[in-house]
């Protein structure tokens, strides 16, 4: 049940209505029932995985609080990581091994079992592991109630694609009393609408051009390939941040505050900053539970760089079991290492051309670099294979700049490009405003007629110009597959 489906539009109001009409004591139970129903809709065969995760997490957390020690935590983490490896990475790992053996002249082709990859497994496993580490570190108490622990791991807005919840922040919210509140309703509704705008007007529209060009980059001119790569940078931002907006908005209606997952990442002035503003719940997870335990930046510069590369390699693999994801992760790690190594010469160069670090020109230049570098990395993310990504990059550098087919050959006619352009300008304007103030709050504090105009206008624009319905290929959320 995706957020933008008729079933969700029926499910969500029923869930919210039940939540606020039921007595306080039964609300968490209702929410858990709704969350499990939501998960069952993703595929009943996956449900046992979720149930087992809840059972293991609850038991281990209690065990850790009763002095279970580091060994218990390590066992539990090994169990989760082991399960993730088996279900998500076994095929990839074996392909690497057979490839390596083949290079040595040894022929070994093991039978790889067809295993289910439960929906959202990477997200709720990470939630569970983070929670257990927090309990072990004493950052949050072990949840005694099985129901609340189950709800924490299964909370439907964030269950399938995050934001990855943290025990100290989310668990406590299930203890609080959430009364119906119009401000929350309006805020949640507006966030959901904005998410729908990004998904339907930009992500799914640009997906057509991106898929067309990435499928056969050799058929297009260099500028068209470059345009498609840039379009993918916008598409993935809009796709994933839209999901987060809708998740945050849905939770907000019921009075819950989920972690903000994006803070206008393309306005970052360095790749390091970009990763502090992109998929924040995952980046901070890696920072707290992998980078810092590895030593972070405390063990010297060389070790810091190695830690960065390890974290980003793991992050790449978290996104998908393929070499291209590993390259994408490593590339992002290398950008940061290179950024750190070249910091001084860049600063000297800026001084030489009399550019102040806080000037607008510097900021724009740096943002353009961040966008360019991340776009090159995203090519590996989207292409599906390293060779496919290299083909795309090669075609960006060929002498033929523009294929005769023009924009239409990319799968979108001129009118579609105009709509995408206008939507992009609107997105950039809103993102720019959100640098200075909370746009949602500002809209909600405006006079009623302004609020109504914004909401109804947004609704109308989505309904008319959105990529949905018959004649369109419904695009799944990209992060739904992780």
């Amino acid at each position: 049940m995706g957020f933008l489906t008729l079933s969700y539009f029926l499910f969500f109001p029923a869930c919210v209505l039940g939540y606020f009409l039921l007595p306080h004591k039964t609300r968490n139970l209702w929410l858990l029932a709704c969350s499990w129903f939501f998960y069952l809709c993703a595929g009943p065969q996956y449900f046992l995985f979720l149930l087992a995760t809840v059972a293991v997490t609850w038991t281990v957390a209690l065990g850790l609080e009763r002095g279970g020690g580091k060994a218990l935590l390590i066992c539990a983490l090994c169990l989760f990581i082991g399960a993730l490896v088996v279900f998500k990475y076994l095929r990839f790992g074996l392909s690497l091994v057979t490839g390596a053996l083949g290079a040595l002249g040894l022929d070994w082709s093991p039978a790889v079992p067809e295993l289910l990859l439960p929906a959202g497994i990477s997200f709720y496993f990470f939630t569970a592991m983070g929670y257990l580490i927090d309990v072990h570190r004493g950052k949050c108490p072990a949840e005694r109630s099985f129901l609340k622990c189950a709800l924490f791991l299964s909370f439907f807005p964030s269950l399938l694609s995050g934001p990855i919840g943290r025990g100290p922040e989310l668990l406590l919210q299930f203890d609080s009393l959430h009364n119906f509140n119009y401000v929350n309703l309006k805020e949640g509704f507006l966030r959901f609408l904005w998410g729908a705008f990004k998904k339907l007007l930009l992500a799914d529209r640009l997906a057509v051009a991106v898929d067309t060009v990435f499928a056969a980059p050799e058929r297009f001119g260099a500028l068209q390939v470059l345009l498609a790569a840039c379009a993918f940078s916008v598409q993935i931002y809009c796709d994933f941040s839209a999901y987060s907006d809708m998740a945050v908005g849905s939770a907000r209606v019921m009075g819950f505050a989920l972690t903000e997952n994006f803070r206008t990442p393309y306005f970052s002035r360095s790749i390091a900053e970009f990763w502090r503003r992109w998929h924040i719940s995952l980046s901070s997870w890696f920072r707290d539970y992998l980078y810092i335990p590895l030593g972070g930046s405390r063990r010297g510069t060389g070790r810091k760089y190695l830690n960065l590369l390890i974290v980003f390699a793991v992050s790449g693999l978290w996104h998908g079991a393929a070499l291209s994801f590993l390259v994408w992760g490593l590339l992002n790690g290398l950008y940061q290492v290179a950024g750190s190594l070249t910091e001084k010469p860049r600063s000297t160069l800026r001084e030489a051309v009399r550019l102040r670090p806080d000037s607008k020109v510097t900021a724009l230049w740096q943002m353009a670099w961040v966008f360019g570098l991340s776009t090159i990395a995203w090519v590996f993310f989207e292409a599906g294979s390293v060779s496919g990504a290299l083909a795309v990059l090669r075609n960006m550098a060929k002498p033929v700049l523009w294929d005769a087919g023009g924009l239409a050959a990319m799968g979108m006619d001129v009118l579609e490009w105009r709509v995408a352009g206008a939507a992009l300008v609107m997105l950039a304007a809103v993102d720019a405003m959100s640098q200075r103030f909370d746009v949602t709050r500002r809209v909600l504090e405006a006079p009623r007629w302004v609020r109504w105009c914004v909401c109804l206008g947004l609704l109308l624009v989505i309904v008319i110009f959105g990529s949905y319905g018959s004649g369109y290929n419904a695009q799944d959320f990209i992060y739904g597959q992780f």
Binding site: L6, L185, R448, C455, L459, L460, V463, I464, Y468, G469
Partner: protein, 345 residues
């Protein structure tokens, strides 16, 4: 005391907010409805002309024609009026199944009380679902009958677009013209009265040629489902005190004789239903197969003129008499008849 006051004012604010919330939902619904009207393609013929039907003066229709394209191509109510004084309306739809016809009849009877319902029989041989469910249902006015049509007569996978037709029409933003915005003003009654005039002539048909015989491919279960829907139509007519006539219109697209024998036998199991098989009645009606067939099956506009006049005479012979009309409506019908006389000669 002050706590009580705070509670009271809190409740008041809550109620006010709820009211504004409802108004917002209403405004959004109206906005989406109007947008839907603009984006839905222009539709003035080929059946399902609900807006024009609802603009007819209440209880002014003597004869209600039901069925599929055979109904709206073959009957031109204005020509029937010119001949017999009987007013009529074709409330059919393209490839309309009997299941849908039932909901059409139910909805149509909310504003009209015809003396007789005349249903063309072809749809009784249709599959459960046909090609034009979207057009047939989306034009119906919102209400219980439309919901009934959506849930009992439409393909389940079409429900989203039947509830929210922008789902399929929203991408018409590229082709909108001024005419699309004119649809914001509801259509009034027109001269078509549900008829669709087609002017092509089916080539090379001679009097001597035998009709085309089709194989009946539908399963017994499907045919029986259709009959059950017909039973509901018959029951509704009985309940409302309206006569029900089923016709097989003049056509060169036919089934073998036993199919019609069985059909008549099954239909007349319903009390009061009369069946008239006119499929070979060309000569008697004054129809020329070399001039008056559109595609071998349906009549063209000239054939419809002759057949409608004949139907009017037939119904008068059956004892149906025109009801009293207001002067304004009489003038409207006369204008419609004049329009068609002028057009068809």
């Amino acid at each position: 005391m002050s706590e009580k006051n705070t509670e009271k004012s809190g409740r008041k604010t809550g109620r006010r907010e709820a009211l504004w919330g409802l108004m917002f939902v209403l405004a959004a619904a109206i906005l989406l409805h109007l947008t839907g009207r603009v984006f839905r393609p222009v539709h003035i013929n080929y059946g399902s002309t609900w807006e024009q039907y609802l603009a007819e003066p209440k209880n002014s229709i003597d004869v209600l024609f039901l069925g599929s394209s055979y109904a709206y191509c073959d009957w031109n109510p204005a020509m029937m009026y010119a001949e017999s004084g009987l007013t009529g309306y074709v409330m059919g739809g393209s490839e309309q199944t009997p299941a849908l016809t039932y909901w059409y009849l139910k909805e149509a009877l909310r504003t009209q009380s015809p003396s007789v319902v005349v249903m063309e029989a072809s749809s009784l041989f249709f599959d459960r679902y046909r090609n034009y469910t979207q057009t047939n249902v989306e034009r119906m006015p919102w209400g219980f009958n439309r919901l009934g049509a959506i849930f009992t007569a439409a393909e389940p996978e079409k429900r989203v677009s039947l509830f929210f037709d922008l789902y399929i029409y929203h991408d018409r933003w590229k082709e909108l013209t001024e005419a699309d915005f004119e649809k914001l003003v509801p259509a009034g009654a027109d001269h078509l009265k549900g008829h669709t005039a087609v002017d092509e002539v089916f080539p090379a048909l001679e009097w001597s040629q035998e009709p085309f015989l089709n194989e009946l491919s539908q399963s017994e279960e499907i045919l029986e489902e259709n009959m059950k829907d017909f039973d509901r139509i018959a029951a509704l007519c009985r309940e409302k005190g309206i006569d029900l006539i089923v016709t097989v219109n003049p056509t060169y697209s036919q089934y073998p004789q036993p199919v019609y024998d069985r059909l008549e036998e099954r239909l007349t199991e319903n009390e009061g239903v009369r069946v008239f098989d006119w499929r070979n009645g060309f000569e008697e009606m004054g129809l020329d197969v070399s001039k008056h067939l559109y595609d071998g099956g349906h009549l063209n506009q000239d054939g419809a003129k002759i057949f409608s006049a004949w139907t009017g005479r037939f119904l008068r012979e059956q004892g149906y008499v025109p009801r009293a009309q207001t002067e304004e409506n009489t003038l409207a019908w006369e204008a419609a008849a004049e329009y068609w006389e002028g057009l068809l000669g």
